[in-house]
């Protein structure tokens, strides 16, 4: 099944789903208009043979990453003369459309057809949420917990939406671009 055929069959069933403006290279990338469309679309995908939830991910488009989120100085080098700038520092790229948005990403694979469709959903940064897919795909369970832990995205209806990777005392969601590290008992 080519990407165009796959997209045509998606359009026939869900006319509101369109191709993403920035596609993931080499793979069909579609964008959902609202989060209500996710569950019907995922159910349909599962019935059509895309029964393997490969990846749950998210991207925060706020801007360049805040250096306050890092505990240690970047590229700390004792041989560096005083006042010299570190090798790498986060900087905004001119003309890139930074925006207060968290893009949620799902990747579905059809093991039979060896096809892959990547689904994206734009959510506001301050109230990022989507329905959980853990009822359809058990693989969503931990992966959604991971995104919840690192981005603070709420997956509505998830049976056990708790932290999974970061320690209990860590405050904030580390992969958000504006995350700043709060000192805890392990600093110093």
């Amino acid at each position: 099944m080519t990407q165009d055929e796959l997209f045509a069959s998606i359009q026939a069933k869900f006319p509101k789903i369109e191709k993403a403006a920035v596609p993931v290279k080499d793979y069909l990338t579609v964008r959902l208009a609202t989060k209500d469309m996710l569950l019907p679309f995922a159910t349909w995908l599962k019935q059509t043979g895309f029964d393997y939830l490969e990846m749950v991910s998210a991207v925060d488009f706020l801007g360049p990453v805040d250096m306050k989120g890092y505990i240690r100085q970047m590229n700390f080098n004792t041989f560096l003369p005083d006042g010299a700038t570190p090798q790498i520092e986060s900087a905004a790229t001119p003309n890139y459309p930074y925006r207060p948005v968290i893009d949620l990403v799902w990747s579905f694979v059809s093991l039979k057809d060896k096809a892959r469709v990547i689904v994206r959903l734009e959510t506001p940064r301050d109230a990022s949420s989507a329905p959980t897919l853990s009822g359809l795909f058990k693989a969503a369970d931990w992966q959604e917990r991971e995104i919840f832990d690192l981005f603070g995205v709420t997956y509505e209806g998830h049976p056990n939406l708790t932290k999974i990777l970061t320690p209990d005392f860590l405050q904030g969601h580390p992969l958000r671009k504006d995350y700043a590290h709060v000192k805890d008992r392990y600093d110093e």
């Binding site: 490969e54 520092e89 986060s90 892959r116 058990k138 693989a139 992966q143 990777l165």
Partner: protein, 380 residues
């Protein structure tokens, strides 16, 4: 009516009377292969609840990558699955090369394939040895490590490191293979091939080992797909999916190899898949050695400080533990704007919470060992 006494629920009462015990498995238990903790609630011998607790090794490599250059990120990738770091290097390079529009030359592709397959053998040998120990057979471990050491020596000759290689670089590989090294590798392949039969006699078809693993930890094909298992865990359940076949990279479509499949999805099937994969890896190495193309080992035009045009890419490879993928987003800057790792160990481990329920305590390690996790990759 309102004063009617509350009828005790017979089932609940019965359950509460049963003596339940909480067992803390790990995080330092040798059979958990790292720092994994599983909170087990048992009734006698039977597990009624299992809560895997991970994150002890979380180093935040996805966050660290956001302030490092693309070349620096390859070093970070080594630290996920430190038992087989070559595919980690490879998958990041493939994703970044897609963004940068760089293509590795044929010789580099062949060397990448050789390295990844050698690493798969080394990784499966570690599994082979430690799974034997988990079950109670100590001897195979010594055999497996004897050969694994030879592969690590070859890696050391090539790139100076035995565990974290940083060998596969953006646009190619670090150094070219010398004729002496290739001769050593051919020597090793010839030495290693008969050893595989020895392993099978020693452990794979050992009746005691088979009896201990054959009916334990069954995972049906539907369950395996639903849990998103990948690699030998998925193929052990009889699902024929291999990223090398489904989405070929580095010229894997030009190599002849079989994809070993299990039947029932038992611990033994998963073990069997890995044991057979070693054979296939050796086959691939032999073919790659036979037709190793001449030419450069590094693409031209790879920037010292790459700044790929804004865009997104996804690359995935069949790593030793499953389908390792990277979702990379670039905003045009010198470091990745976002890197997401689809870590196979992390996703494979998730099914533990469901599969352990109803099993006997003595079978926990049999199942846990057969998933073959590396905690560096689970926690990233």
């Amino acid at each position: 009516m309102n004063n009617a006494p509350v009828q005790p629920d017979n089932e609940t009462v019965g359950k509460l009377k049963t003596d339940q015990m909480f067992i803390n498995l790990g995080p330092q238990h040798p059979s958990t292969h790292g720092v994994l903790r599983v909170g087990l609630t048992v009734e006698g011998e039977i597990i009624v609840k299992a809560v895997p607790d991970i994150g002890y090794l979380h180093r935040g490599t996805e966050k660290l990558a956001e302030v490092r250059g693309y070349h620096h990120c390859v070093v970070l990738t080594d630290r996920w699955d430190y038992v087989s770091a070559m595919p980690n290097n490879l998958v990041f390079c493939l994703a970044a090369e897609k963004l940068m529009g760089v293509k590795a030359p044929p010789r580099a592709d062949a060397l990448r394939v050789i390295m990844c397959e050698m690493n798969r053998v080394a990784s499966h040998l570690l599994f082979f040895g430690t799974y034997g120990i988990d079950i109670g057979a100590y001897t195979p471990f010594l055999y497996a490590f004897r050969e694994r050491e030879m592969i690590l020596d070859l890696f050391e000759m090539m790139c100076g490191a035995r565990l974290t290689y940083n060998y596969i670089r953006l646009g190619g590989v670090m150094v070219d293979a010398t004729p002496e090294w290739l001769a050593k590798l051919r020597e090793f392949v010839a030495y290693f091939k008969p050893k595989l039969d020895e392993y099978d006699n020693l452990l794979t078809y050992n009746p005691i080992f088979m009896a201990r693993t054959e009916d334990v930890g069954l995972i049906s094909a539907e369950d395996a797909i639903s849990w998103g298992l990948s690699g030998p865990n998925l193929r052990g359940s009889g699902v024929n999916y291999d990223a090398r076949r489904a989405d070929p990279y580095c010229g894997y479509e030009n190599y002849e190899f079989d994809v070993p499949l299990g039947k029932t999805g038992s611990c033994w099937d998963r073990f069997f898949c890995r044991a057979q994969e070693m054979r296939q890896s050796i086959r691939i190495i032999e073919q790659a050695l036979a037709k190793l193309p001449e030419g450069p080992f590094m693409a031209t035009g790879v920037a010292k400080i790459p700044k790929p045009a804004p865009g997104e890419s996804y690359a995935h490879v069949e790593a030793s533990r499953g389908d390792l993928g990277i979702h990379l987003v670039s905003d045009g800057g010198i470091s990745p704007f976002r890197m997401h790792v689809r870590a196979p160990s992390f996703i494979n481990l998730a099914m533990l919470q469901e599969k352990l329920v109803g099993m006997k305590v003595s079978d926990v390690i049999a199942l846990l060992g057969s998933i073959d996790i590396v905690l560096g990759e689970v926690d990233r």
